[in-house]
């Protein structure tokens, strides 16, 4: 087995026991990238030269007996909406095609301090708006399990890179399901953390009250390892918290109360997906967990709340792309107003324009209705209902996506694309952690992912339940 195919936890062990070198790990990784990348197209930018330099630096550290960071020598792909000093960061948009940040995102600083090795910047839907990775202005990433299918989005490049062994770990970002859905489509593990658990400083913003950076890996333990490195309070992001995940070192499946919300298993869920997730629930039952059927009231509010808050925040956040201080500036214009308009017209793709226009309208006085207040009131109701739900159970298990991966170009209707997020919206809106874990395969050998949702700050319980499942089921 090649080194790039191993889990990060295993590689750390080999490296510390001097059974392999960081250089060997990076050599194997780039060999795989060169072999597969022409077909998969997971990356927008590769950072081969610095990756090799870093590998040599880490080997020198090992040789001199210096203390190693907790991700020493581990290859990682970073979604291209996370700022990397001196490395082009495009958000997969023409408007930022040549943008080179002058600073690192806090998560990147933490990766560097932990001696992780960035191999490249991963493709995404433009400004993380999409569920298939097809709205990227530069390329369409393919699903490594079947290249006629999408990898999911928006962190499609991150998930595909990990699934194709082009990286061992990856960072994505999750606004409405953008880590979990591609993880599910590509058969890897992806976490959306509790809101505020991981700094957003240096993450190009989409909707600030939903955006979270999220780790991806091929095992739950790898995702846990990466989460522990990048989480924590950051003075540069006032919404971060002094994060202490509730310890579950005495995890016993027999004490686990699993809620199964009926609303997540309705007609909109593909039969094969339903079957696979129910088999996972059956596994937990046979292992001694208590299974409770529960109800989530007002599921029909999820997409409307999300649409209102996301588009209003996106319209405001993306107003900065005006051709003035950075990014694209249109070549032809007569005056200032035309420079703004021509720049934005040329620089943004359809999905971004659609959402900015909707958000502009919803937040204007002309819309005639207090959409944001209505969305927040509905969100507060849902929050109360979920707090009640978590008095009955420790975690909820649901499908991650309503279907398996779909064919490239299959979904063109925006409403149908938004519906791909139906199962992942609740944690995004309510700030709860959720992890996507592979639970089987369906037609065309495509993976299916289950979603484990926990209460705020209960990441550790999700990790323990996920690891128990991986160890005993797969």
């Amino acid at each position: 087995m090649k080194l790039n195919e191993l889990a990060a936890t295993k590689l750390m062990e080999l490296l510390r026991n001097k059974e392999c070198s960081a250089l060997e790990i990076i050599e194997d990784t780039f060999r795989e990238i060169e072999r597969k990348e022409p077909e998969i197209e997971a990356f927008i930018t590769l950072t081969k030269e610095t990756a090799f330099e870093n590998a040599k630096r880490i080997d020198e550290k090992i040789a001199s007996g210096s203390e190693l960071g907790s991700l020493a020598g581990i290859p990682i792909a970073v979604k291209d909406n996370i700022c990397t000093k001196g490395v082009r960061t495009t958000a997969a948009s023409k408007i930022l095609e040549n943008f080179v940040p002058t600073y690192n995102a806090t998560v990147v600083e933490k990766l560097n301090a932990a001696d992780a090795i960035m191999v490249g910047k991963a493709n995404l839907d433009e400004f993380a708006m999409g569920s298939s990775c097809e709205t990227s202005a530069f390329k369409k990433t393919k699903n490594p399990h079947n290249i006629e299918y999408v990898p999911g989005g928006s962190s499609g490049g991150s998930a595909a890179a990990v699934a194709a062994n082009e990286s061992v770990l990856a960072l994505g970002s999750d606004t409405g399901g953008s880590v979990r859905l591609p993880a599910s489509f590509c058969g890897v593990v992806g976490l959306r953390p509790t809101y505020g658990a991981i700094s957003r400083y240096g993450l190009l913003p989409l909707a600030s009250s939903f955006d979270q950076v999220g780790p991806l890996g091929r095992t739950v333990a790898d995702v846990e390892l990466l989460f522990n490195v990048i989480s924590g309070r950051d003075p540069k992001d006032s919404t971060t918290v002094n994060f202490k995940t509730k310890n579950n070192s005495d995890f016993d499946v027999k004490n686990l109360k699993v809620g199964v919300p009926e609303e997540y298993f309705g007609n909109f869920i593909d039969e094969e997906v339903k079957k696979s997730v129910l088999k996972m629930i059956e596994f937990f039952k046979k292992s001694g967990a208590q299974i409770k059927k529960v109800n989530v009231p007002h599921m029909e509010y999820m997409l409307p709340i999300y649409s209102v808050v996301l588009t209003i925040e996106a319209a405001s956040n993306l107003a900065r792309y005006d051709g003035m201080c950075f990014g694209l500036r249109a070549k032809e214009f007569k005056d200032l107003e035309q420079m703004y308009a021509n720049t934005r017209e040329e620089g943004f793709g359809d999905e971004v324009k659609r959402r900015i226009i909707l958000g502009t309208f919803l937040s204007s006085s002309e819309s005639g209705s207090a959409y944001m207040q209505r969305a927040i009131a509905a969100k507060n109701e849902l929050l109360k209902a979920h707090d009640e739900l978590f008095k009955l159970c420790d975690i909820l298990i649901t499908p991650t996506g309503p279907t398996q991966a779909f064919r490239l170009g299959e979904i063109c209707d925006p409403m149908k694309m938004y519906a791909m997020d139906l199962c992942t919206l609740a944690p995004s809106i309510l700030g709860f952690p959720a992890i996507a874990v592979p639970c089987g395969k369906g037609q065309n050998n495509l993976p299916i992912g289950a979603q484990l949702i926990g209460q705020r700050y209960c990441e550790q319980l999700l990790f323990e339940a996920g690891k128990f499942f991986e160890r005993n089921y797969l």
Binding site: S238, S307, N342, E345, F361, G368, Y371, N380
Partner: protein, 89 residues
Amino acid sequence: MSFNLEHVGKLAKFVLTEEEIKKFDGQIKEILELIEILPDVPQNGENRVNINQRCGLREDIETSSISIDEVLSNAPQKKAGCFVAPSLR
């Protein structure tokens, strides 16, 4: 509620093409219909975002920053240490 795409497009600083207007109009109206299921609430400020609820601000202490050259490094046009912009009429 009256949604006029061309007008909102201008507010959002776009010059939409005929083709885009044709495409976006129906799509956005469909989303607006979906949003209408959200219940009406009294507009008394009770449901406004409370930014103090979860923000932990750092101490207001001066820290190092980036140089002017770095600030200007991504500028589409620059001159004498400044951004160059079209003049206001």
